[in-house]
């Protein structure tokens, strides 16, 4: 290895409105080095790679390739600098063939179809992938699509290949082959940045490992100095205790909701669990593990393929959100603006949207005075900071918008409440008040399910934690074996 690093990142910062995704990150990569990036959901790994590959432009900091300061302005530019990226989500064009997909962006003006196919075949052979170059991408299975993505990253003359969870869809044999292949590629002097959630994979494969937390680099060490335990520790970190774990726990009563063998094609397999009166159950798991699909299946947003839902022991068919509300299920979506609020309407209209039935005379004529009274009551009891009921909801802060949505749910007098990321994009003060509301609901004898990607939140709120991985419930952790580490272990496998 020579003295000039293949890639050096210095003081890289990228801010999105309201969020600092990466903050003064440094990273050095030698030619032929395999470098793992580890971190929790939202720690900034993907953003860092998107900056490198030219999808985003950094706010500050510099990227140096082979001693030259570069600033990739778009993916095409990054490619010409020798940086290619394998994205987490599929980047194949369904209507094109495997070969066309692999060569996309590298063609000569007049297509040299035979040349493209030959080169594709050569790469596929080198990788030992059994993939037909002339098959259409839309006909490939998940693992085969991933193979095509890998081959695509290798097609150009890359110096640096960034891989965002490349083995997520491969089985263990395929993963082993793939690791061997990455080592072969690295041996030719190509550097690899490797994002993975499978910690063993990082430990086995990488020369160096960088750990990111909340957008900052917290460690960069030779992988030989790391163990699984201190990797988890570095990723979780010692979170500042803004969320106090409440000491007062509510009485857990009889079972209200039971879900049996719930499946949703391509997303969920055989989910079984129950919720009881007075308990808050946390639902943890990585992004993409099927948490939102599960909550949506229960609330009638999504129609599950198979499975049964029982409320108070009686089987119910929740075919739409309307039916869910009638059965006493309230659902807070993860996307406040898209799926929750009527942004153009007033605070009052947003509050009373789900209870207009009880607030109306016959034929749906709304009893305006009662609506105002009800809305005022909700604003006061949830401490929603607004200058008036007529104020447009979009002018409120994120925290107050979220409180408004929660107030709307509670106004329907539900027995079961399902919160998907209840404090996402919410200011600290409101987080606390939302947490208190959730605990208070449990004390009143409601059953609450909370989905959160923020582990400390799950830990602080939950009496019990369910963990999902790859569309399955893999753990049900009760108070005695509930720690951040056990949750992480289950989520990462």
């Amino acid at each position: 290895m020579n003295d000039i690093p293949r890639l050096a990142i210095r003081g890289l910062t990228k801010t999105f409105p309201g969020v600092r995704a990466i903050s003064e990150a440094d990273l050095t990569l030698a030619p032929g080095e395999i470098h793992a990036l580890a971190g929790e959901n939202g720690s900034g790994k993907s953003t860092l790679c998107m900056v490198l590959s030219g999808v985003y432009q950094p706010d500050a900091g510099e990227i140096v390739i082979d001693g030259v300061v570069v600033n990739p302005t778009n993916p095409r530019h990054a490619q010409s600098l020798g940086v290619s990226m394998m994205y987490q989500e599929s980047n194949l064009v369904p209507e094109l063939t495997v070969a066309e997909n692999i060569a996309l962006g590298h063609e000569t003006f007049l297509l040299n179809k035979r040349g493209i196919e030959a080169r594709t075949r050569e790469i596929l052979n080198r990788l030992n992938f059994s993939l037909d170059p002339s098959a259409k991408a839309s006909q490939l299975s998940g693992a085969r699509m991933q193979m095509a993505e890998i081959a695509k990253a290798l097609y150009g003359e890359s110096k640096i290949i960034i891989m965002d969870e490349p083995t997520a869809a491969l089985n263990s044999q395929e993963t082993q082959d793939f690791h061997k292949l990455i080592r072969d590629v690295a041996a030719t002097g190509v550097s690899v940045i490797y994002i993975t959630h499978a910690l063993e994979e990082a430990l086995e494969l990488a020369d160096f490992t960088t750990v990111l937390r909340d957008g900052k680099v917290v460690a960069c060490r030779p992988t030989t100095d790391l163990t699984r335990e201190n990797l988890v520790e570095l990723m979780v970190g010692s979170h500042i205790d803004i969320i106090k774990r409440p000491t007062r726990r509510s009485e857990i009563g009889e079972q209200i909701l039971r879900v049996e063998n719930l499946s949703l094609r391509n997303h969920l397999t055989n989910i079984n669990f129950s919720l009881s009166r007075g308990e808050v159950v946390g639902l943890a798991g990585l992004v993409g593990s099927g948490r939102s699909e599960l909550t949506m299946s229960i609330c009638g947003v999504v129609k599950p393929t198979t499975g049964a839902i029982f409320i108070h022991g009686k089987r119910v068919k929740v075919v739409s959100p309307r039916v869910a509300i009638r059965h006493g299920i309230a659902y807070l979506s993860e996307n406040r603006k898209e799926d929750g609020l009527f942004l153009q309407l007033s605070v009052m209209h947003n509050l009373t949207a789900s209870i207009l039935g009880p607030l109306s005379y016959l034929f749906g004529l709304i009893r305006r005075r009662r609506e105002v009274k009800e809305a005022r009551l909700l604003v006061n009891s949830f401490a929603i900071a607004t200058s008036g009921l007529a104020k447009k909801i979009r002018d409120l802060s994120g925290g107050n918008q979220q409180k408004t949505l929660i107030a709307r749910l509670i106004a329907t007098k539900p027995e079961i409440l399902i919160f998907d990321e209840p404090t996402k994009g919410v200011d600290v003060g409101a987080i606390d008040s939302i947490h208190q509301t959730i605990r208070a609901l449990a004390l009143e004898g409601k059953a609450v399910l909370v989905v959160s990607s923020y582990l400390p939140e799950i830990m602080a709120l939950s009496d019990r934690v369910l963990v999902m991985r790859g569309g399955q419930l893999v753990a049900n952790l009760t108070a005695e074996n509930l720690t951040e580490e056990t949750v992480m272990e289950a989520a990462f496998a």
């Binding site: 590959s53 999808v55 778009n74 993916p75 095409r76 490619q79 990226m85 994205y87 599929s90 980047n91 194949l92 064009v93 369904p94 209507e95 094109l96 066309e100 996309l104 962006g105 590298h106 063609e107 000569t108 003006f109 007049l110 297509l111 179809k113 839309s138 695509k152 949703l264 391509n266 997303h267 992004v287 993409g288 099927g290 948490r291 939102s292 699909e293 909550t295 949506m296 947003v301 999504v302 129609k303 993860e334 996307n335 998907d420 990321e421 989905v451």
Partner: protein
């Protein structure tokens, strides 16, 4: 399911042949040489527009301004040649340039200002239609429409036959068809068009020049419409505010019937040629069998609805796993109730 698509396309061929046979027996005037040449001449004019629009649809965009671009192109030709007495040879490039600029403008609106293509081209359509309305009340236009042109060169554009047999419009259609076929099949632009329509994000990340392609395709669609306008101006020797009105509907019907998906990424100009034949035969045949004009419009409209339904159906069958990528309309039209969540979580 390629077999199904194959059958569907051949089903379309069967419908085209069936319609032809039907009209042959239904009207003694339909399969006369004169009528068939007229049918081909007018059908090719229409077809040239359809080819441009096919490319726009493969990109996953929509161009509903073509009818008005054709009309204004014809207007420019008529006024320039007849009222202002400029040689038609100079007016041809002017018309083409006009189509190019309007198309590029549509493209700029969608790529750089993020205006949905439907809205952008609707805006262009309304502006150009307004222009037509205004122009039709001017002295210039009245003057142009009152003169009969006698220039044989000008008459040849719309009514002449190359070698005394094939209408010029058919020759042009064939040339454009071959050129587009070659570009789609053998250049990276072709791959880029299908890639962008099938998965815009992937195309962009793979380094395809997506904006250049998109502006270029809109400009090409504009040029195609302008060519049709030139042919029309010469053939009819006049232009009114109604010229090309609602033409975008039969164009879309032809393209969609030809197997091009409004969702982007799917389509071929071979299919479009069949769609063009179908619509041309249908229109001409209904005139020849003296079907009421209003009923004709209803029949064509029914074909549009039928073709949209067909589009969804074939798209669904061929692309079941990916149906959720297609956006809201598809979710509404998702007749079989298959759900796909919004990702995440």
């Amino acid at each position: 399911m390629p077999i199904l698509r194959y059958l569907l396309r051949h089903q379309l061929l069967l419908i085209v042949v069936g319609l032809f046979v039907y009209f042959h027996f239904a009207s003694p005037y339909f399969s006369t040489t004169f009528n068939l040449v007229t049918l081909a001449r007018e059908g090719a004019e229409f077809g040239i527009i359809c080819i441009g629009v096919t490319l726009v649809l493969i990109l996953g965009r929509l161009d509903i301004s073509v009818g008005s671009v054709m009309a204004v192109s014809a207007l420019i030709m008529i006024i320039g040649f007849k009222t202002l007495q400029i040689h038609w040879g100079y007016m041809v490039p002017v018309c083409l340039l006009f189509g190019l600029l309007v198309g590029a403008f549509n493209g700029l609106l969608t790529t750089h200002l993020g205006v949905p293509s439907f809205i952008a081209t609707l805006g262009t359509l309304i502006i150009l239609r307004g222009l037509m309305q205004w122009a039709s009340s001017t002295e210039m236009m009245r003057e142009a429409n009152s003169i009969f042109s006698t220039d044989p060169g000008f008459q040849f554009i719309g009514s002449g036959d190359v070698g005394g047999v094939v209408p010029l419009s058919v020759v042009l259609l064939a040339l454009i068809f071959v050129a587009v076929l070659l570009v789609l099949r053998f250049t990276k632009i072709g791959t880029g068009i299908y890639a962008f329509g099938g998965n815009p994000q992937a195309a962009k990340r793979a380094g395809v020049r997506v904006k250049v392609i998109e502006i270029g395709i809109f400009a090409f669609s504009g040029v195609c419409a302008a060519i049709a306008g030139i042919l029309l101006a010469s053939r009819l020797d006049s232009v009114t505010y109604q010229t090309g009105l609602y033409l975008e509907f039969p164009v879309l019907i032809a393209v969609i019937l030809g197997g091009t998906s409004t969702a982007g990424g799917v389509g071929s100009i071979w299919g479009t040629v069949l769609g063009i034949s179908l619509i041309s035969i249908l229109n001409n045949g209904m005139v020849m069998t003296a079907i009421d004009r209003d009923i004709q419009e209803i029949v064509v409209a029914l074909f549009l609805l039928f073709s949209l339904f067909f589009d969804r159906l074939t798209h669904k069958l061929s692309n079941q796993k990916k149906a959720w990528k297609l956006g809201d309309i598809d979710r509404v039209l998702n007749l079989f109730g298959k759900f796909n969540p919004k990702g995440g979580g």
